[in-house]
Symmetry: C2
Subunit: 190 residues, 2 copies
């Protein structure tokens, strides 16, 4: 997705810890026109599959999950990473390791929100080691829902996430794939 | 907003702790058609004011902030409630008390994302005691931005939030106001 690559190249920065910072248009401030383009691209790649719900993880995936779901006229669901007062015992949960937070977290979705009659697309902002995506897929497996695929906005192609997802026989799409960020220089996959 | 009142009346539940649970359409699963209606209503109430950004707090306010911002063709910004790896020292921050989490939290926005040239509308899913909204207004005061108002989807009208906001001379709008949830019975303001 050329406009997204251009934007990352011009505004993204690589921190000393090797984290890609895209806070000005994806991650804390959201360029809503770009959000529309991203939603459109997600829907184009997963059209005519009978998807009934889009699932993401709070917080940064929510704008893109909601925009794609809005275009498909279906609901979006976000798994909670943090304790929340209305989550009771009737939940699916999975343990993930957050590399950006350097700790284990439990992600949770209310049981009534995803069922075995659903066909679900997983959407997130980033894929790196795939821990969050694998946690969401674990929750979807518990629910009995069918999985249409996983679509992320930005893939770090030099990490293992895609391999893990495709290794489960699940379709994976990234709107852009970064092959290297060495010395702060961002290189996209051709 | 009649369709929202009807939906809350039919699907919302009041927990024993007095929390309104709207997880099936607002809070964990998002009905994206309702999200469009909510975005439209927010934009109608704050039209022709020259708003340049919408600001919310992660996570549940994000869908409505982004949808209203999309319609206004402006960016949405969410304050972070949780530690995040790309947040450095160049931030505005404010301390809030979360009643749903029963603890103090620090909310943060990167300094570059809101400036004194901005005119900002604050959007959130709920207003009760107004701690989150007051924290966002504190951050906006630090940034020097002009505040167009605060708009929430659901106001608990029997708590003090609105009083605090209007007490600062800031315009407040709620799409629906609940006057009572006693004995689990939800009563809306006429």
């Amino acid at each position: 997705m050329k406009i997204l690559e251009d934007r990352i190249q011009s505004e993204g920065t690589v921190t000393i810890g090797g984290i890609l910072k895209v806070d000005t248009f994806i991650n804390q401030m959201i360029d809503t026109e770009l959000m529309e383009n991203i939603g459109e691209e997600i829907v184009t790649r997963f059209s005519n599959l009978g998807i009934t719900k889009i699932v993401t993880l709070e917080s940064s995936g929510i704008p893109f999950a909601c925009e794609a779901a809005r275009r498909l006229k279906i609901p979006a669901v976000f798994a909670r990473k943090y304790e929340y007062v209305t989550l009771d015992d009737s939940i699916y949960q999975s343990r993930i390791f957050s590399y950006t937070r350097k700790k284990e977290m439990v992600i949770r979705v209310g049981k009534g929100l995803i069922t075995e009659t659903d066909k679900v697309l997983v959407v997130d902002d980033f894929l790196a080691n795939g821990s969050a995506a694998m946690g969401l897929l674990d929750i979807l497996a518990q629910s009995g829902a069918d999985v249409a695929g996983v679509c992320v906005v930005i893939e770090k192609g030099f990490q293992k996430g895609r391999e893990k997802i495709e290794g489960k026989g699940i379709r994976f799409e990234a709107l852009v794939t970064i092959d290297s960020m060495e010395n702060g220089k961002i290189e996209f996959r051709k």
